[in-house]
């Protein structure tokens, strides 16, 4: 086994998925994943959950009048003494 415990490995999954791990931390986690099937499954679920939530973020088209509304608000603001 590697130096990293499963608990510590799991604690770094999101940073790993977000590409925020580097150097020794990244090497340790990757070494752990090579040896631990259970953590691989948990990591796959974390990735699946991220993709699942991202795909369900609310979509909305830009309201037609919003740019005009903001231009008016900025003009009013600029006209204030």
């Amino acid at each position: 086994m590697t130096r990293l415990s499963c608990e510590k490995a799991v604690g770094q999954f999101f940073a790993y998925l977000d590409r925020a791990l580097a150097g020794e931390a990244l090497a340790d986690l990757e070494a752990h994943l090579e040896a631990c099937l259970s953590c691989c499954d948990k990591l796959a679920f974390s990735r699946q959950l991220d993709d699942f939530v991202k795909a369900r973020l609310p979509e909305d088209t830009l309201p037609a009048g919003l740019e005009a509304r903001i231009r008016r608000a900025l003009s009013r603001q600029a006209a204030e003494p």
């Binding site: 799991v10 604690g11 999101f14 940073a15 977000d18 590409r19 925020a20 499954d41 948990k42 679920f45 974390s46 699946q48 959950l49 991220d50 699942f52 939530v53 991202k54 369900r56 973020l57 609310p58 979509e59 909305d60 830009l62 309201p63 919003l66 740019e67 509304r69 903001i70 231009r71 608000a73 900025l74 003009s75 603001q77 600029a78 006209a79």
Partner: protein, 199 residues
């Protein structure tokens, strides 16, 4: 450089409009995902531009105006909801860090005939439940997560946008996902997808 010299407020407004309004769609996209409501998103975006007009002379790198606007928007959401109760509402942090939706689903095995238990478990949730779970996140967790999901910012850029250290971004993004997992588990119990054994 922005501002300075003999620039009038109206000249500043016109320069801001020329530089910043091309990003209106991007800001609205983030805002609607942060607020969950079109009207709230419109108000938030308008407030962002008003704030940007006042802060425009301090903008040192006009070619970085897009992240600068996103930073203003994110901080407006955080400042608006700077209520200690929302931090406390997530409960015991050590317990939250240990929460595992994967383990709970595995242990309960609510879909015994599934050949991909976790995928099929997630597939049961209507889209609105997932959006509600996201909106249930306190802003301090929701803002970095939405910026990460929508803008794919690095931790360093998130730290800059939110005005906090990279380590704080890391722990907030970890906890944001853990709270989401917990919200989905609670939702699964309410909908009867699971019996609801505790971790």
């Amino acid at each position: 450089m922005s501002g300075g010299g003999g620039e009038t407020v109206d000249q500043r407004r016109r320069r801001l409009e020329a530089l910043a309004l091309p990003y209106l769609g991007d800001l609205y996209r983030v805002a609607v995902r942060l607020t969950g409501r079109s009207q709230d998103a419109e108000d938030l975006v308008q407030e962002t531009y008003i704030k940007a007009l006042a802060a425009f002379p301090a903008l040192r790198e006009p070619d970085r105006i897009r992240p600068w606007l996103l930073k203003i928007l994110g901080r407006l959401v955080l400042d608006r909801h700077r209520a200690p109760a929302r931090e406390v509402a997530v409960g015991d942090l050590a317990e939250l860090d240990r929460f595992s939706l994967y383990d709970l689903v595995w242990d309960e095995d609510p879909l015994p005939y599934s050949d991909n238990l976790h995928r099929d478990f997630l597939a049961q949730f209507p889209d609105d439940d997932v959006r509600r779970a996201l909106l249930a996140l306190p802003e301090v967790y929701r803002v970095p997560l939405v910026l990460l999901y929508v803008e794919e910012l690095s931790y360093r850029d998130l730290a800059d946008a939110l005005g906090c250290p990279v380590g704080t971004v890391m722990s907030r993004l970890h906890r944001a996902r853990k709270i989401l997992e917990r919200e989905l588990w609670d939702c699964a119990k309410r909908r009867g997808f699971v019996r609801g054994g505790e971790a």
